[in-house]
């Protein structure tokens, strides 16, 4: 059986590693350290961990002050609170001041499941993408999460890391090295390209297997950094395959799908289908049932790929 680990779990482990590597690493949480897994850091470095309580706006400001004083700060809580409740604090205290704070939003997307719409961030990528200088990343598995967290220590820009509650398959090998701003081709193919982020990458890979059975070869691209978007890999995919599908556990408004469409409509108009939540709130249910109902499955991706292909043929 494939090994599974939640990206939030990997985040906690990576924080503990980062703390060993660098004495300037400081971690904040807002009463959810057991859920975001920042508790792994707290156990090892209690003096460099500050629980700010149920006060996310204050946590963001505190993170800004620490970063302005040279600390490498990670601040974590659920994605809805991390960037939704605190948008103005992030905008003014962190982004406008260009401070390299690392914000981690766990429990993003429908994958949050039973807690329901109030706790399922479906707009967090969109919000963070609008802030100048903000880097937005959504790792696909535990390995990528760890590499990303460790590499983030060197960033000069603020960063938003989107994490998932759910255990998901480990895709990358131990030697995998994440690079900010770079997408990667996970499977090559010439008929259609599927660009996926976060937990949707493994579903895109499943979709590829389904498509192969019908004689369609899909190129699967992992887009862990949504901003800055790897324009080259998207434009190359559009030129070489002509049909694009995006896949994300996020609203189709303003997320990966939005970013890809913005780029392609300016530079390489192509046949694009966006798989994601179609401008609506989620609801309470086990994640798998939600993925089914809201169309975030391998089958849905495969079917989007076929319609993108069909439209490409019409355009020809």
């Amino acid at each position: 059986m494939t090994e599974e680990i939640a990206t939030r779990e990997a985040y906690g482990e990576a924080l503990a590693l980062a703390g060993e590597k660098d004495n300037d690493v400081v971690v904040l949480d807002a009463d959810l350290s057991k859920s975001t897994k920042s508790v792994s850091f707290q156990k090892k470095f209690p003096d460099r961990f500050f629980n700010i309580g149920i006060a996310e706006q204050d946590m963001i400001g505190t993170a800004a002050g620490l970063a302005a004083s040279g600390k490498k700060v990670f601040a974590s809580t659920f994605a809805v609170f991390a960037v939704g409740r605190t948008f103005d604090q992030i905008r003014n205290s962190i982004a406008y001041s260009m401070l390299p704070v690392k914000l981690a939003g766990s429990h993003a997307g429908l994958a949050t499941g039973e807690d329901g719409a109030s706790h399922q961030a479906l707009e967090d990528i969109a919000l963070m993408r609008t802030l100048p200088g903000m880097i937005v990343a959504c790792p696909a598995d535990g390995v990528e999460t760890k590499s990303l967290v460790l590499k983030s220590l060197e960033l000069e820009n603020p960063l938003y890391i989107r994490l998932c509650r759910l255990k998901t398959p480990v895709i990358f090998g131990d030697k995998y090295s994440f690079e900010f701003g770079k997408g990667s081709v996970v499977e090559d193919g010439a008929d259609v390209s599927i660009i996926a982020t976060g937990i949707m990458l493994s579903k895109a890979m499943e979709a590829s297997t389904l498509l192969k059975k019908e004689g369609i070869n899909a190129r699967i691209i992992n887009m862990a950094t949504i901003k800055p978007l790897d324009e080259d890999i998207v434009l190359k995919a559009a030129s070489e395959t002509g049909a694009i599908v995006t896949a994300e556990d996020h609203s189709i408004v303003g997320g990966l799908g939005g970013a890809v469409c913005e780029l392609l409509s300016e530079k390489k108009p192509s046949s694009v289908k966006r798989v994601g939540v179609r401008d609506r709130f989620g609801e309470s249910a086990p994640p798998e049932q939600l993925f089914e109902k809201y169309g975030l499955t391998a089958t849905a991706i495969a079917s989007a790929a076929k319609s993108a292909l069909a439209e490409k043929d019409v355009q020809k």
Binding site: V26, D47, R48, F50, I52, G53, A55, Q57, D58, M59, I60, G61, T62, A63, A64, G65, L66, A67, A68, S69, G70, K71, V73, D88, Q89, R91, N92, S93, Y96, S97, M98
Partner: protein
């Protein structure tokens, strides 16, 4: 840097008030009211209380000042320019295209500004982060944060007040510029915030109430704050909006309204009088 005494500080304040009025009138917009009310406090901080090096704004051992009520930046700009953080000519470019002096403070544009502010309620949290960092670094660097009384209506201030007390940030001094006015009128009419000192005390702070225009009281409150350990200190400084210019003192409209050139001349005349009396040039 030479530490100024009470008399020299009041002359310096009058000079800064003139600069504030000149630059806001020249810009045609800005916030003179809350700049004038906080002038004596900020002058006392920069010319007497704080460790800092104008020729090396990022000096590691410096004390840090967070202007949480960011709209009072004309005051901070006047002080920073006078101290040599940047050339005085910049003051004439306030709020104009490509100027380093933005309508509200920007840390990436102006030397000496520690953090961008302007959206009210955020500064105390940032000051907490700086105070925590100073403690982690075992540094004696102290953090000063100036808030408005109207600003206390922002909930984040009280989240931050809990954090400062919880982490025993005795290297942090918050000062409330208690000028009783906000844009829509008297603070107590818009949304009451009193009793301010009692509120902070209830949140676990050491609270001191003073006349924010009396330098002896300001200096003595700074000293008392340093003696207090294991608690953050707040100085609630009773001030007068538009202090120093008789015909606009306590007039709500001048929160965000600038003087006409005629009014400016009259105001400068009044302030010159202060300078001359204090320096004994005219008696």
């Amino acid at each position: 840097m030479e530490k100024l005494g009470a008399e020299q500080l009041s002359v310096k304040s009058a000079e800064m008030r003139k600069e504030i009025l000149k630059m806001t009138t020249c810009a045609g917009s800005g916030h003179p009211g809350g700049s004038l009310s906080a002038t004596d406090i900020v002058v006392a901080l920069y010319y007497r209380e704080m460790k800092h090096k104008p020729d090396n704004p990022l000096w590691g051992g410096r004390d840090k000042f967070v202007l949480s009520k960011g709209h009072a930046c004309p005051l901070l700009y006047a002080v920073l320019a006078d101290l040599g953080y940047f050339p005085k000519e910049e003051l004439g470019k306030l709020r104009t295209l490509n100027s380093m002096l933005q309508g509200h403070p920007s840390s990436t544009k102006t030397p000496g500004i520690e953090i961008s502010t302007g959206s009210l309620g955020q500064g105390l949290s940032v000051a907490n982060g700086m105070a925590l960092a100073s403690k982690l670094d075992k540094s004696d660097s102290r953090i000063y944060c100036l808030l408005g009384d109207g600003e206390l209506q922002e909930g984040q201030v009280w989240e931050a007040a809990m954090t400062s007390a919880h982490y025993k940030l005795d290297n942090l001094l918050a000062i409330v510029d208690f000028n009783r006015l906000q844009i829509d009128g008297f603070v107590e009419d818009v949304m009451g915030v009193e009793p301010i000192a009692d509120k902070f005390s209830a949140f676990g702070w050491n609270s001191i109430e003073i006349d924010g225009h009396d330098f002896e009281e300001i200096i003595s409150a700074f000293a008392k704050a340093k003696e207090c350990t294991d608690k953050p200190t707040v100085i609630v400084a009773k001030t007068t909006k538009c202090k120093g210019v008789s015909f606009i003192e306590n007039v709500c409209d001048y929160h965000g309204k600038t003087l006409t050139s005629e009014e400016l001349q009259k105001a400068i005349g009044e302030l010159d009088l202060v300078c001359n009396i204090e320096t004994g040039e005219e008696r």
